[in-house]
Symmetry: C2
Subunit: 516 residues, 2 copies
Amino acid sequence: MALAEETAARRARGGGGAARRAARSAVSFETARFIERNIPNFDILTPEAIEIIEHNAETVLEEIGVNFVENPAALERWRQAGADVQGERVHIPRGLARQLCATAPSRFTQHARNPARNVEIGGKSMVLAPVYGPPFVRDRVAGRRYATMADFEMFVKLGYMSKWLHHSGGTVCEPTDIPVNKRHLDMLYAHMALSDKPFMGSVTEPSRAADSVEMARILFGSDFVDSHCVMTSLVNINSPLTFDSVMMGALEEYAAAGQACIVSPFIVGGAMAPVSVAGTLTQVLAEVLAGIAYSQLIRPGCPMIFGAFVTSIDMNSGAPTFGTPEASQITYGAGQLARRLNLPYRSGGAFTGSKLPDAQGAYESANSLNAALLSGVNFMLHACGWLEGGLVASPEKFVMDADQLGILHKLAEGVPVDDNAQAMGALREVGPGGHFLGCAHTQANYSTAFWRTGLLDYKPYETWSEEGARDTEALASAKVDRMLADYQQPYLDPATDEALRAYMAQKKASMPDAFL
Amino acid sequence: MALAEETAARRARGGGGAARRAARSAVSFETARFIERNIPNFDILTPEAIEIIEHNAETVLEEIGVNFVENPAALERWRQAGADVQGERVHIPRGLARQLCATAPSRFTQHARNPARNVEIGGKSMVLAPVYGPPFVRDRVAGRRYATMADFEMFVKLGYMSKWLHHSGGTVCEPTDIPVNKRHLDMLYAHMALSDKPFMGSVTEPSRAADSVEMARILFGSDFVDSHCVMTSLVNINSPLTFDSVMMGALEEYAAAGQACIVSPFIVGGAMAPVSVAGTLTQVLAEVLAGIAYSQLIRPGCPMIFGAFVTSIDMNSGAPTFGTPEASQITYGAGQLARRLNLPYRSGGAFTGSKLPDAQGAYESANSLNAALLSGVNFMLHACGWLEGGLVASPEKFVMDADQLGILHKLAEGVPVDDNAQAMGALREVGPGGHFLGCAHTQANYSTAFWRTGLLDYKPYETWSEEGARDTEALASAKVDRMLADYQQPYLDPATDEALRAYMAQKKASMPDAFL
């Protein structure tokens, strides 16, 4: 705390200093602005279906209730708010949770240390963040192995340099070579120092959430953090209908500090939820209602995101599956339910069960990404880099998916129909049997007319063969090498850097290593 | 003609014989019914944008006009209908084309020789047909090579055995080992004999279209063909705005025989159409309006499909690109324009520019397939098997894409909210912290609840490694082998078979081989 105050005092007030620091950056890598959708959402649920699911979710909350485990303070807060608390079971009267959720904002800004990279979350926006959580890494050369801090830093660098990623994410992989009770410090520092995009805080212990807030105070200044959202963190619900004290402890820390959380059921349908889309949506809604309502008991007005991480189970093997039609239906449906609550919506991602960045990986990821765009997702975690059901992060898959994210940007722009877009002059100029390549309209528009891949191959077969007949993974591997070779760290004020390092050193020295 | 009459006389009237023949089939392979969408369409164009594009398309037809090349009879028909014909240029007064299109049906049945496999095209239906046109084949073992008749037969067999394909297609690849003026006979015979799904006729010469109708008369009986649609054929417009005499000659044959055609611009945006989505949609609409209007001058009421094969150009290389955001926008927009005309809509497909069935192939195909479903496509050609911008047909890609088509079926069902789907009993039974796998609702529903892949891998990493760490292409290659080993020809009446062979032999003997 002392360090944070000191650093804050040394630097300019608020975000102004960050702007000046960014301007001093020696190298700047282009990052697209977060998406503002100019297209409709795809509403798969009929009004009648929404009514049924909303009614049933309230029934779940009132009749069945939710458990807040090992958290007497939470139970007391619920009792005060008017819930019927029986042991650890909280029965929430019909309508109460929805009413409490109303104080959460429908859209908010998450600030980055480079203000040009601030993101807005909610409404028609869509913010893209990379893979979260894998304990393993697989790359084309070294194969599959436990992830390390060096891998973590590599993914942060790739994220920083990826044009279509707006957010640096959180646990881009688990740095298993760092003690479990200290790695959150290294992870946060990597996001803060190696990137200037917004990032996520730690949720694995309430004390680590507190550390996250402290380090953010050093980076942004305490006053700024007190009055602005600078972190969005992922709080999973222990589905079905259970809120454990670790995750809720993290949420309590963040909410008290005015920092955003994604309150997100983590559901494999058929295992942690009913084996039907409507039943799963009912449970998702009940869980998010309870979780966000609780956050507003901690601090009304604190920004929260309606999360839904839902997949289905392969009934043959028990394995989770991705890119399935049921997952898409749930993604579309949950978006409608989130909008009815006027809450920002998190879902989607480049999900796949594949072990490799092969066709299965791409089909499943593309199915998920397309559904996420049209379902109105505002915050997409896991937007690139997933393999093997989230067990593995892959640098090749990272840049492959990240290239596809450009498609979402262009698609979201909708179809312009201004005079230039109507192109009647071109149609008149060229006429039947002609060719548009050389016409004035094409010459004036060709450089921006169409989205361009930064990865995929359109060369003639013969050229492609001569160049080694490379598949997408091989192209991606080469691109990863180029990006890492080109990487340059964005400028960070040396005093801030030193203060961050000092905080980490002090915290690490204060406790023995733990690996479980 | 004599042969056709004779065969028709020998067999039962109408489609009844086909039903009996199907019942006698020794082996039956499951084929899903064509899709009836129970979900909304995704409308990317605003009402204002539709109005502008429709207005502009009429302007194109009236002011710029379209060319009907080397086709005096067509020019005369247009003159009679009220168009202003100047040389080969047909200026169609505002509103005339739309008015002529009104006699084409909004939905029709294409009959198969097995009536259980009839398809309906239009309204909320979606019919899936395989790859069309590639001169090359690539498989995992033999690599890339010119396609042969043996390849053609292989693809027809794979199509017959693919659960999610409703249609046998047309030129599934070009059998380059057969003379170009005779191969249509072998291709048609393969569809008629090796499959019992509906198929497409030849369009490469008017006389070949006539042969297609004759062979259909042998298969279905002349009376039946005269009063039922038994073929849907692909008539490409020579974009921009040009209707050549070969394609129009084929359309004239089919329309006169009451057989359906897809009237389809073939556009690489930026080359054959303006470099903007709205401009391309304007041209697509103008071209389809003119083509379908013309078909109704031949035979009012003849079934026609509003086609749109549109991709964009890579402005660096000039290569066509697939799975792009612009292609999706055009697919969505053209669907809206087709529905405004109450015409069945053809678009989409498992498009890709990739040389391999790799991640690029899958991303691009999945992007296209998802857009096609939500854009309200009624007939999807190229639904499986594409590589390399349509130059190459791949058996592995065929079964990979065909597996993904199952996802479209399930997604199209929408979200049921009946009592069973609501699953409130399961939620009450399991409660907070429980597990749904063993509950009564899961046990009652698990076998049908979720779509299941017939190809992709969800096994644990260790099992997958022990089994050879196969990628999707390797899994698909093994599946192709299994399918071909299991293939059994559907029963075909020996007299019909003999009559088809006799017709082919007579036609082949009547002309010298041509290879250009």
